[in-house]
Point group: C2
Chain length 324, copies 2
């Protein structure tokens, strides 16, 4: 690890570390004690202008979000975050103070997740980009995308479409007068809540559920489970959970709830018989049943058990848009 040596040294100052970190930032590599468990690893990048804009929030929030979206991948495996490294691409025009505050957000979020930030690299580029690699421990079975079974029920955590509305508010294409709704939606976009402990609880259920976290939208990410499991699904569109803030803007229109990304909730499929309320209690987050896995490939959107042609057509149109 290298590049802008003094800066990275300063950024990493005051980093706490657990006993598992043998050597933190400042050498060619960090050293981490061996673990009793298999590890999971994921990388994701947040690029200015594509995934966020600088004016959207405080630098700390931008840093925090880059870490949170990675933690969501750890959650979706049912794993525990253990340690991470950060690559920061910095463009001209950003002050050292800005970078330090952004890094404070990264460090704080790592600490809140009981994870050691063990190393980093800083480079120059034309965009600000924060690329985080998180390593986690898998203390039991993994929540995989390819493990859905026919007749599994499909559940989701939290509510959908909030982050997409929040995004539009931040972009200035949506005005929401109600202050409370506005700030809730914006915070859903800026500060996702990776379902880390819920994921770990899910991974202990038998048979192990399939799961994915929702970054690209409910329909698309459920599609990844279907593709990997070589199965299909029927989703009852009106059962997709909405927040009061979403409802106050879009009413019962679930188009954005179905296709809007960045919610970082979990979709999981589980054998029939689980009760929403009991599951919510167990996972520590509200969950809703939205449909079931079927043998026939593809995703079918239903309304009261019948094909919801309009929603399905929208989905198709949106799929085609995404392909370009």
């Amino acid at each position: 690890m290298r590049g802008e040596f003094e800066l990275i040294d300063r950024l990493c100052r005051g980093l706490g570390a657990s006993r598992r970190t043998i050597l933190g930032p400042g050498d060619d590599c960090a050293i981490v004690a061996r673990s009793r468990w298999p590890s999971v690893i994921t990388v994701d990048s947040m690029v200015e202008g594509r995934h966020f804009k600088i004016g959207w929030g405080a630098p700390e929030q931008i840093g925090a979000r880059a870490m949170l979206v990675n933690l969501s991948d750890i959650a979706a495996m049912g794993a525990r975050p253990s340690h991470c490294v950060v690559n920061l691409a910095v463009r001209r025009g950003l002050s050292t103070r800005f970078i330090e505050r952004l890094y404070d957000g990264l460090k704080r979020t790592a600490r809140d997740a009981s994870m050691d930030l063990v190393g980093g690299n800083v480079t120059g580029a034309d965009n600000l980009a924060i690329t985080v690699t998180v390593v986690g421990e898998l203390r039991g079975p993994a929540l995989r995308r390819d493990q859905a079974r026919v007749n599994d029920e499909i559940f989701v955590t939290g509510t959908f479409g909030d982050a997409a509305l929040g995004w539009r508010i931040l972009e200035g294409t949506l005005t929401v007068a109600n202050h409370r709704s506005r700030s809730w939606l914006v915070s859903r976009c800026l500060q996702p809540s990776p379902r880390i402990s819920a994921g770990q609880v899910l991974a202990r259920l038998k048979p192990t559920p399939a799961a994915i976290d929702v970054s690209d939208g409910l329909a698309q990410d459920l599609g990844h489970i279907l593709e990997r499991s070589k199965l299909g699904a029927e989703v009852e569109v009106d059962s997709i959970p909405l927040s009061p803030a979403y409802r106050s803007i879009a009413g019962d229109d679930r188009a954005l709830a179905l296709t809007g990304g960045e919610d970082y909730e979990l979709i999981f499929t589980i054998r029939p018989g689980f009760d929403e309320a009991a599951l919510s209690k167990r996972l520590g987050v509200s969950v809703g049943r939205i449909g079931r896995i079927v043998a026939r490939r593809g995703l079918r959107i239903l309304r009261e058990g019948k094909p919801a042609r309009r929603a399905q057509a929208r989905l198709r149109g949106w799929d085609q848009l995404r392909d370009h």
Copy 2:
């Protein structure tokens, strides 16, 4: 891991994997079997326009180089590469074929290093940037920067300044008529040779040497050892090993050998008594003794045991340049 799902799926096709990879690309995280050893982890990024230009080599070479510079960090710890993940930021104007070929270079280099490429992410950006995180196993003591001792002798592997000359050739600011010299220097820039097995041999010596790999130049990277070890060094400038190609251009002028980056050789400090020839044989790469560690802080450049004022002044001037 997400983003451009179909593309990343295609890029990862045909990936081999060892038994330690439980789940490769295609889920939220990859899963890797637990290891008996502590792990090392490093991240580094290669950004178009800063670290390379597209016209410099085949896409495969660009991909390979991004992997090789990370492997050099693993080598500098005395570790064995185990697995890696790649974040690819892609700009407009690059064909899918180009990206596939770049990825072929990444995959081939991982395979050659007996390392599993277990996951990746593709995002859009204004620069092409390849960010690689490599995890390795540490089967013995680590080669750290902070373990140099007074009176240790300073050795280097290989030759210095070649990559800096190769860079100038690629940039068009240096013309080298001799074809053999030209292609040797260019390949030293485009295809670094991380000293992985040499690093592992070094880590078994007792007492364990301090070491670093040279990305920013001999003087600067030796400086990191000195800083971390809170010591100084005397370097006999004329003992810095040069390649015949370097000599054919710069003669005995070692300015670039001292300050030019990207050589990805190792600098290590070791207790007195080791013989160059015997060490070269043991490490499987030529090594040269260039100086010794002293208690007085700072790096002093000597010529026949006396201060080499010109070289020292140059170094100072260059340090100031680097600071801006």
